[in-house]
Symmetry: C2
Subunit: 253 residues, 2 copies
């Protein structure tokens, strides 16, 4: 157990670097904040390297965190390293999760193409978890999984199912090889999702908030679905659309 | 047409006050930012009092804004009054919309109880518009409609359907009088929404992000629905849940 008093301590500077993608890649680590995410990391056997605790914070006695180094810091240091306005007393540095060995199988997947808003990406991972999916695949131009707002918005779902990254074109080919229907989304064209329900396997692709999904990817799809708009809105928020589709098209258990 | 050079101009100070609820109520006005929202306000006959334009900004010639005062400002003044990091060249001060005379009728409504996050509230208004609802009712503890993040998240839907405010208890009584089914939402108990589809009228209530909807309101409901969670997530984001339910329970057209 170590105590750090100064925000200028080199360790504090290293923690701050974990809020940038480059810093995370260099350290092969990411930082999570708040008791809920830390508890989810423990429950899901994420490798925790360091735990950072505010002096006044009471760590739940049920938590067993092995092999981690513990640091006690005053509130002002915690505020300095936190990404939120009101830090919740605890943060943890975790080893990057390596899902690159995970092979996609027959099942239900969400593919995210170029969604930039971290809140939308995290919320979609949470929704994919809720809907019982087998995995999420983050394509080019999508917010980084370990961005602190993505992690926060997943509410822990980041630790519940495989999250892959990579070129969606190759993933689509792989899904086609194993006969999983690849379903694109479009504002116009295609079919209403209301006529496409009860699927037990699919790879659903959602796209960028403004432009929708990449046209070349859309052409690779077996079919495209849209959500009917009954009012005057031009479109739905992408995370809401993903939720409607994931619950709408899959077989009901 | 007037030109304002200094961020210390009293008019600039008044605009900034419109970012607080108190300031909006005192002025009976609210401020919107960016060409998309301004265009939606024009299309939907919102009363625009003042238009604030950055010097370099080209106002689309198709826009006719009657009766408004025009102000030209340098970029630094626009940045000072804007709520976003990269202002989009135009903002407008609008008169508050008065929907208090609107009476609820037989139809489809979304009632929002205690949802604090402005992004969630705005996104739900956008979804309610997309799903063809007849109105949205904001209850106690819900983010203010004219909060700039709520407005931005509605993407203009704020101008497309009546948005009412008030005590949800009284609204529920009114819906019961006119035989519109009042449907609460709960994480546990109640019935799966998958068994409750095809409704042509309803008043659906969603609740606070953490605590769910108020227990007393839930007891007033004709029934409670839940969305099944197939994975390890504890719950869905409230705006995603509202989208799944609004598209899931209504009759398909």
């Amino acid at each position: 157990m170590k105590r750090i008093e100064s925000a200028k301590n080199p360790r504090v500077k290293q923690w701050k670097k974990l809020y940038t993608k480059k810093g995370r890649e260099q350290a092969n680590a990411f930082i999570i904040e708040g008791p809920h995410l830390v508890e989810e990391a423990i429950k899901n056997n994420v490798s925790i390297i360091e735990v950072i605790v505010e002096e006044e914070y009471q760590v739940p006695s049920a938590w067993t965190i092995e092999a981690a180094e513990w640091y006690y810091v005053p509130r002002k240091v915690m505020e300095g390293i936190s990404d939120t306005e009101t830090p919740q007393g605890i943060a943890a540095v975790c080893e990057m999760i390596n899902d690159s060995e995970v092979e996609v199988q027959k099942g239900k997947y969400l593919l995210i193409d170029g969604v930039q808003d971290p809140g939308n990406v995290g919320t979609m991972i949470r929704t994919a978890d809720s809907a019982g999916l087998d995995g999420v695949i983050l394509g080019k131009g999508t917010a980084d999984l370990y961005n602190s707002k993505v992690l926060r918005s997943t509410q822990g779902s980041v630790f519940h199912l495989p999250i892959l990254k990579g070129d969606l074109t190759s993933y689509i080919e792989r899904f086609k090889e194993i006969n999983v229907p690849v379903i694109g989304t479009a504002l116009e064209g295609g079919e209403s999702f209301l006529n496409n329900q009860g699927l037990s396997e699919f790879a659903l692709i959602v796209g960028n908030e403004g432009k929708g999904m990449d046209k070349a990817l859309l052409e690779q799809c077996d079919q495209a679905l849209y959500i009917p708009i009954y009012g005057k809105a031009e479109s739905l928020n992408v995370a809401v659309a993903a939720g409607i589709l994931l619950y709408g098209i899959q077989n009901q258990r």
